[in-house]
């Protein structure tokens, strides 16, 4: 029974090469689905060269019909976005978010977390990073969404400028708050080498913003990094999602890919007045065009378990 994975998963990875070396972020994405506390699926992707990429992923979050299950039933997914500035210190910026995500994944797999408080996963994982003999240097933002199937509720934690939207009937019903110190400087978890200590922004993992929100069948949860939200505004995202006629897996994946491609194109459009440029102007910086950056889009649709799936779980 444990081998039956009823979540259909597909993803496309579109790598678009660009030679712009100015502002690059490295990103690691991890998807950890823990079912029954025993079966977990984990995808991790990391690219640490100086090329921007866009990545999209979609899957189905199935809710439980009844309350009869004795097992708690959780689905977790999470993105972490590394800060590219570390490259100038000779530090691979992807190591930090990758290690953070793999530690989060371990916490979930080994049930060392309280799902109602996903922020605790970020906190615990961050402190666990400091327990390594090999000194780790870098910083990262983190955004985690955990779905409780019986409660039909998502519990989220967000630190930094990645974020998520919950879309119901073509409207945004719930969203994360972006956390920034000042323009283009998100809240971040970091470990600095001793000479830089005190000069590097290091937010406590307790700063993560937590929320919970009840979800319904048919809801779309869209999780993305700042590369997405800086290049596409909410209306554009809603447009794409509203074009979804049904919630078949292929269509959802198509939408995710389209959003990622669109964002990637806009990022390199020099005349486009991107949300990033608008905030820059607000901050008194004259800036036009998109923001070249790594882009990750995860689209999840909330569905009910079919009777068959339900039976498999009991």
């Amino acid at each position: 029974m444990q081998n039956q994975l009823f979540l259909s998963l597909s993803f496309t990875l579109s790598l678009s090469f660009s030679l712009s070396l100015s502002l690059s972020l490295s990103l690691s994405l991890s998807l950890s689905l823990s079912l029954f506390h025993s079966l977990s699926l984990f995808l991790s992707l990391s690219l640490f060269h100086s090329l921007f990429y866009s990545f999209s992923l979609s899957f189905t979050l199935s809710l439980s019909h009844s309350n009869t299950h004795t097992h708690t039933f959780w689905l977790n997914f999470c993105v972490a976005d590394g800060v590219g500035g570390w490259r100038s210190y000779g530090v691979d910026p992807s190591t930090f978010p990758c290690t953070l995500m793999s530690t989060c994944e371990r916490m979930v797999k080994e049930n060392k977390f309280r799902p109602q408080a996903p922020a605790s996963i970020i906190t615990d994982s961050y402190y666990e990073l400091l327990e390594q003999k090999q000194p780790l240097v870098g910083s990262s933002t983190a955004c985690i969404v955990a779905l409780h199937r019986q409660e039909r509720t998502i519990y989220t934690a967000n630190l930094g400028d990645s974020g998520f939207l919950v879309i119901r009937h073509d409207e945004i019903v719930h969203r994360s708050q972006e956390q920034q110190h000042y323009f283009n400087t998100p809240f971040q978890l970091s470990v600095a080498p001793p000479p830089q200590q005190g000069h590097v922004i290091n937010d406590s993992p307790d700063m993560a913003e937590s929320s919970s929100f009840g979800v319904q069948e048919g809801d779309i949860i869209l999780l993305g990094t700042d590369g997405l939200f800086d290049n596409m505004n909410e209306d554009m995202l809603l447009d794409y999602v509203s074009k979804l006629k049904d919630h078949k897996q292929d269509n959802v994946q198509n939408t995710a890919s389209k959003i990622a491609e669109e964002a990637h194109q806009l990022a390199f459009d020099p005349d486009y007045l991107s949300p990033f440029a608008l905030t820059a102007i607000d901050a008194g910086i004259e800036l036009r065009g998109g923001k070249p950056d790594d882009i990750t889009v995860v689209v999840a649709r909330v569905a009910s378990l079919t009777d068959n799936e339900q039976r498999q779980l009991v």
Binding site: S28, P135, P194
Partner: protein
């Protein structure tokens, strides 16, 4: 009839063999049996990984952390077949002989059997009880430390005191020195007479170059559908406690030729026997019993090697020969406070050394007993006694002779630690390593500075809340420090100058551990080179601030240096370390590495 024993070769790995027994169609039957299977007990081979770590003696990782923790034994291997220093394995606190040659070390005592060399253990539980056929230990870094595998008969319960618990040794052997990086250790097991799902693996660190790391343990064996019907456990088979008397038995009175020997000569001869032999000899005749009960033969008693056989009545029986007992080690044993009580009463306050490592039975009541009956105690080891609550340590009160106190990995809190230091100003050696309930180590350090002027050795491993303020007050008042372990004290910042002052003021330092401090820099090493004349052991693992030149200075200047750990120092290359090893052959220079695994 095909019983599982006849059907399968014990000790071999039946699971690799997928051939099916023609008659019974059960996979794993290596030798086909030509007998009728009707009525044979349901036998099934189960291959399983650890589901729970029930006990362990020490671990490298912090309390509640998942890095280098004993809990990493759970589940299938992660690092294997790679090798190296990984956070995801089970790692113990020490290795080699480095800790036993440090100034804080205590000598092992008691006439223990030469074979016994276990330093650490881990007790692991599996889901279903089986008759073990194969145990695979995935050793992914510095293998060779496993010396014993014991199986517990849980059907009789684990309570040693009820006499119901039974531990059987499945394998034991000497530690080995291995050059290979990792291995799957799968010794030939003695067949167990009972199904088990609880194993205890003992480790000996003597020959290790560096920490041994265990990734996973797999237990393979046969389950029997209805265990009781197969081989019911008979209580008569329960092993007798080794040092239990047979006072009521009729023993011959005649001592034979022994009686012709002068008592002193006999005493001299008996002095060569280990504890078990002495106890056995006492059962031969009344004459020898009288002489083996000579309390001068029992001034030191070490029951740790017999932890699985010692129970409460052992202690009660020992009491009548232990009136001169000075040193007692009942680490790892499960007894009751009442047994300890009668032993303490018998010792008539002679006891000077008491080791109670990893004893679950030790509670606040035991501490009260200690305070009452052992006023002359000089050395007390309570490491990893988890059943003493945070504030209960104070019940120990003043022990005017106490010099050495080991509270490694206990629940002691800041207030209790401070009070204990206040009560016992004569303390010389203190281990507060891994005491995660102490949240203000600076306050504790202040108390050491204020009250304990004789302090020689302090172990503050993983004292997260210790800062340079606490260290400064200790340095200024305890200038005769010989050993200081500040491993993983990440809040002690080198730029405050605390390490330089430490070396200037405490020039007797023989051992200094600055493991994973990250801020240790060239200036600190230069101070070590200048002032560390007596330094024998130095650990600066995990700092990126140190360059090769300053590490080389240390090697050149500190002529007594024997141990130098520069693992994970980003600016110290393996080439440099290799050339240093040639140039300074008397120094064990350590350079660890991580496994090449993906995240």
């Amino acid at each position: 009839m095909c019983s599982w024993r006849g059907c399968c070769k014990l000790g071999a790995n039946p699971l690799r063999n997928d051939t099916q027994c023609e008659n019974c169609e059960r996979t794993g039957c290596v030798e086909n049996c030509n007998q009728n299977h009707a009525g044979a007990p349901e036998c099934q081979i189960v291959e399983q990984y650890v589901c729970k770590v029930t006990k362990f003696s020490s671990q490298y990782g912090a309390d509640k952390s998942i890095s280098y923790a004993a809990g990493n034994l759970i589940g299938p291997p992660y690092v294997f077949p790679h090798h190296g220093d990984s956070t995801r394995t089970c790692v113990f606190r020490t290795y080699g002989t480095w800790w036993s040659v440090a100034p804080s070390a205590s000598k092992q005592f008691g006439r223990i059997p030469a074979k016994f060399c276990s330093d650490d253990f881990v007790e692991i539980q599996f889901k279903s009880a089986v008759y073990p056929t194969e145990i695979k230990i995935f050793e992914t870094y510095n293998p060779g430390a496993v010396v014993k595998i014991m199986a517990c008969d849980q059907l009789c319960g684990t309570d040693v005191d009820s006499g119901q618990s039974r531990w059987e040794c499945l394998w034991s052997g000497a530690p080995e020195r291995f050059t290979e990086h990792c291995r799957v250790f799968s010794p030939n097991l003695k067949p167990a007479s009972f199904p088990t799902n609880l194993l205890r693996i003992e480790f000996c660190h003597q020959l290790l170059h560096y920490y041994t790391e265990i990734d996973a343990v797999q237990l393979a064996g046969y389950t029997i559908g209805t265990i009781q019907s197969f081989q019911p456990y008979s209580k008569t088979a329960a092993p007798k406690s080794p040092v239990k008397d047979i006072i009521h038995d009729e023993a011959p009175t005649n001592g034979g030729y022994f009686q012709k020997l002068p008592g002193e000569i006999l005493f001299f001869m008996l002095n060569y026997l280990d504890q078990l032999s002495l106890s056995r000899l006492s059962q031969t005749c009344r004459y020898l019993r009288e002489h083996t009960y000579d309390s001068f033969l029992w001034m030191e008693l070490n029951l740790k090697p017999y932890w699985h056989q010692v129970n409460n009545s052992t202690l009660i029986h020992m009491a009548n020969r232990c009136s001169m007992l000075q040193k007692l080690d009942i680490s790892w044993c499960s007894v009751l406070s009442s047994g300890l009580h009668s032993l303490f009463m018998a010792t008539e306050e002679h006891l000077v050394c008491l080791q109670l490592a990893c004893c679950d039975f030790v509670t606040v009541d035991t501490l009260h007993l200690l305070a009452t009956y052992c006023p002359n105690l000089q050395e007390l080891d309570l490491q990893h006694c988890l059943n003493i609550e945070e504030t209960e340590f104070e019940s120990l009160g003043p022990l005017p002779q106490l010099l050495k106190l080991n509270l490694y990995s206990t629940k002691i809190c800041t207030q209790s630690a401070q009070n204990l230091l206040k009560y016992n100003p004569q303390l010389e050696v203190l281990n507060l390593g891994c005491c995660s309930k102490i949240d203000q180590f600076d306050g504790v350090a202040d108390h050491i500075a204020q009250h304990c002027r004789n302090m020689r050795c302090v172990d503050l491993w993983r004292a997260r809340s210790l800062t340079h303020t606490g260290l400064f007050s200790m340095i200024n008042n305890n200038t005769n420090l010989e050993e200081l372990d500040l491993g993983w004290c990440s809040s002690v910042i080198s730029s405050s100058g605390c390490f330089i002052e430490l070396l200037q003021k405490c020039q007797n330092l023989k051992k200094l551990f600055l493991t994973a401090n990250r801020t240790v820099c060239d200036n600190d090493l230069n101070a070590i080179a200048e002032y560390g004349h007596n330094l024998e052991q130095l650990d600066i693992l995990g700092t990126a601030q140190v360059r090769e030149q300053s590490a080389f200075n240390v090697l050149q200047s500190c002529s007594r240096l024997k141990f130098f750990d520069v693992s994970f120092c980003a600016n110290i290359s393996c080439t440099a370390v290799n050339s240093w090893c040639q140039e300074f052959p008397h120094v064990a220079i350590k350079k660890s590495y991580q496994p090449h695994t993906i995240f």
